[in-house]
């Protein structure tokens, strides 16, 4: 899979972030491992330390395995004002894990995120590449059961 992604991009240093985003998106456990870092560095002609520095700088990237579905909870003021605390509590209860952890069946990882830019629909969360807004306890339950069913 990595080789196919590498083929799609020019062998230029400035495509590093695009390559990492695409690869992590396709990978079931949503992380970039040491061997892959080495391979990406070699392909793009950059040092391994450069790849590490990019991965550790940007919030989207992880060097540790995560769940199939990454749930990001917005923790900034507009969501907080619209009862964002309930969102975190509800998700933690539904999934049985705290923010920062992955469920035992590797289906979900719960994370915090900075503002998602959907403050007009606060509170908001993002699951993988989809944003959900105007959340209530019932809506969260429905969303999670949908992901449980489909994955």
């Amino acid at each position: 899979m990595l080789e196919n992604i590498l083929k799609e991009y020019p062998r230029q240093e400035d495509y590093l972030i695009e390559v990492l985003l695409e690869y992590q998106k396709q990978k079931a456990d949503r992380h970039i491992g040491e061997d892959e870092i080495r391979r990406i560095a070699e392909h793009l002609g950059v040092t391994e330390s450069k790849v590490w520095s990019v991965i550790t700088f940007y919030t989207f990237f992880s060097t540790r395995p995560r769940g199939e579905n990454i749930i990001q909870i917005c923790k900034d003021v507009p969501c907080y004002l619209n009862d964002g605390n309930t969102v975190q509590r509800t998700l933690e209860q539904l999934l049985g894990v705290q923010v920062g952890d992955t469920t035992k069946n590797q289906k979900f990882t719960l994370e915090h995120t900075s503002c998602l830019g959907h403050c007009d629909g606060a509170p908001a969360i993002r699951i993988n590449d989809k944003t959900y807004t105007n959340l209530s306890v019932d809506k969260l339950k429905a969303i999670i059961s949908e992901y449980r069913g489909n994955t």
Binding site: Q12, E13, D14, Y15, L16, I17, E18, L20, L21, V46, K50, S53, V54, F57, Y58, T59, F60, F61, K75, D76, V77, P78, Y80, L81, N82, T113, S114, C115, L116, G117, H118, C119, D120, G121, A122, R126, D129, K130, T131
Partner: protein, 418 residues
């Protein structure tokens, strides 16, 4: 009429995915006009319009354009800053999702005026829908030869590529953004030289916000002088306001500069959702000042914001009602900046961490007079010595609450948690 729909005029009348809709509504006519004009005349029209940057810093748009046009280097870039990460802001997303060609037309006009060779849209990674829409939009524009080689027979070549962010607020800062497009961690550079001189890949680079580029076609259509008649003397045109928080009708509203903040909240936003009293409002986003209810008759104007010694005119209004605790809000803001600091300069990297610890002491009601003094000193040092806008503006909310909600700080010191 409180609202003045210029950039949002087509929204809901056109299908954002249809270039035909955009063309029928007069789209790309101003690009055609631009390529029939002398390049310098385009920049002069922008100068007459008195347009200032809409990303927050309010820098006069024509100075950047002229800066690049004057450079000798022939490889030049135009970059659209679509890394809208400031908490409380979503107006750029609104423009990109609902009228994406408008911004592209503005970018191509700017590129033509400055003889730029390549364009980039740096789009925050969280804006998945906008990414799909913009990819489609760029394809459509290429098919119609508004992008690509020999645009509309003018001999001018220009294309645009989208680059994704990966969850970093600081990448909205222009040099951090450039570093990120180059595939590096988003850490700012020391200025000068400015991006218009030594920018992306070391070449002259014009960076503007989504809303700024979206204004360009309107300025050519109306003429710079007519555009300058909208708004106030110091701030011409309209502003897209992102209204959120404890408000009945949150959303994006386009108003001319000079409208009182109170009118936006009460007349457009319908006041607070449940009729509670407004306690305070944060302007601009996390890096903006928090003002009390009695100051809401202030008007939306770049110079008003500068009175707060902050450069936050991106246009967010976050309404907080009487239930909200000042320190709970400051803690969230503190956590945000502590997480988003790039770590390059010491005042920001260490300052935000210490500032958060001090704010937490106030949240827990165990702060002393010395903590108050330390908050004041540290905030000042960060504001004066940080390398980029992030560290410089991180303490703005604290400065403003020290000024307008000082009694809350004193109350904590005088009545500690036993």
């Amino acid at each position: 009429m409180l609202e003045h729909k210029l950039l949002t005029e087509r929204i809901d009348r056109i299908n954002p995915l249809s270039i035909d809709d955009y063309l029928q509504a007069g789209g790309y006519e101003m690009l055609k006009k631009a390529i029939g004009m002398e390049r310098i005349a385009i920049i002069e029209e922008i100068e007459k319009s008195k347009l200032r940057g809409r990303g927050g810093a309010a820098f006069p748009a024509h100075i950047k354009l002229m800066g690049i046009a004057k450079e000798e280097e022939t490889v030049r870039y135009v970059v659209c800053n679509a890394d809208e990460g400031e908490p409380g802001n979503f107006k750029d997303r609104y423009l990109m999702e609902h009228d994406p060609h408008q911004m592209i037309e503005g970018m191509v006009i700017a590129a033509y005026a400055t003889r730029a060779t390549k364009g980039y849209i740096y789009l925050r990674g969280e804006y998945d829908t906008a990414h799909s829409i913009l990819s489609w939009t760029l394809d459509e524009a290429r098919k119609h030869n508004y992008l690509g080689e020999n645009i509309l027979g003018s001999g001018f070549d220009f294309d645009i590529e989208i680059r994704s962010g990966a969850g970093s607020y600081v990448c909205g800062e222009e040099f951090a953004l450039i570093e990120s497009i180059e595939g590096k961690p988003g850490r700012t550079r020391v200025k000068p030289p400015f991006p218009t001189q030594v920018g992306l890949y070391g070449k002259p680079t014009l960076i503007n916000n989504v809303e700024t580029f979206s204004n360009f076609p309107h300025i050519l259509r109306m003429g710079g002088e007519a555009f300058a008649d909208i708004g106030t003397d110091s701030s011409s045109g309209t502003k897209l306001v992102s209204l959120s928080g404890n408000v009945a009708n949150p959303g994006v509203y386009e108003v001319p500069f000079g409208v009182p903040i109170r009118d936006v909240i009460e007349k457009l936003g319908g006041g607070t959702a449940d009729g509670r009293k407004i306690k305070m409002v944060q302007l601009g986003g996390a890096s903006g000042p928090i003002i009390p209810e009695y100051m809401l008759d202030l008007t939306i104007d770049f110079d008003r914001f500068e009175n707060f010694d902050s450069k936050t005119g991106a246009g967010a209004i976050i309404v907080m009602d009487e239930r909200v605790d000042v320190f709970d809000v400051l803690k969230r803001i503190g956590e945000f900046f502590e997480h988003e600091s790039c770590g390059k300069c010491t005042p920001c990297r260490e300052g935000n961490l210490q500032l958060l610890k001090l704010v937490e002491r106030f949240v827990e009601r165990r702060a002393s007079e010395k903590d108050l003094l330390n908050i004041e000193t540290l905030s000042r040092v960060m504001h004066q010595t940080s390398l980029c806008g992030l560290g410089q503006s991180a303490p703005t909310a604290i400065f403003s609450t020290l000024q307008y909600f000082r009694d809350h700080y004193i109350d904590v010191i005088e009545h500690p948690q036993s």
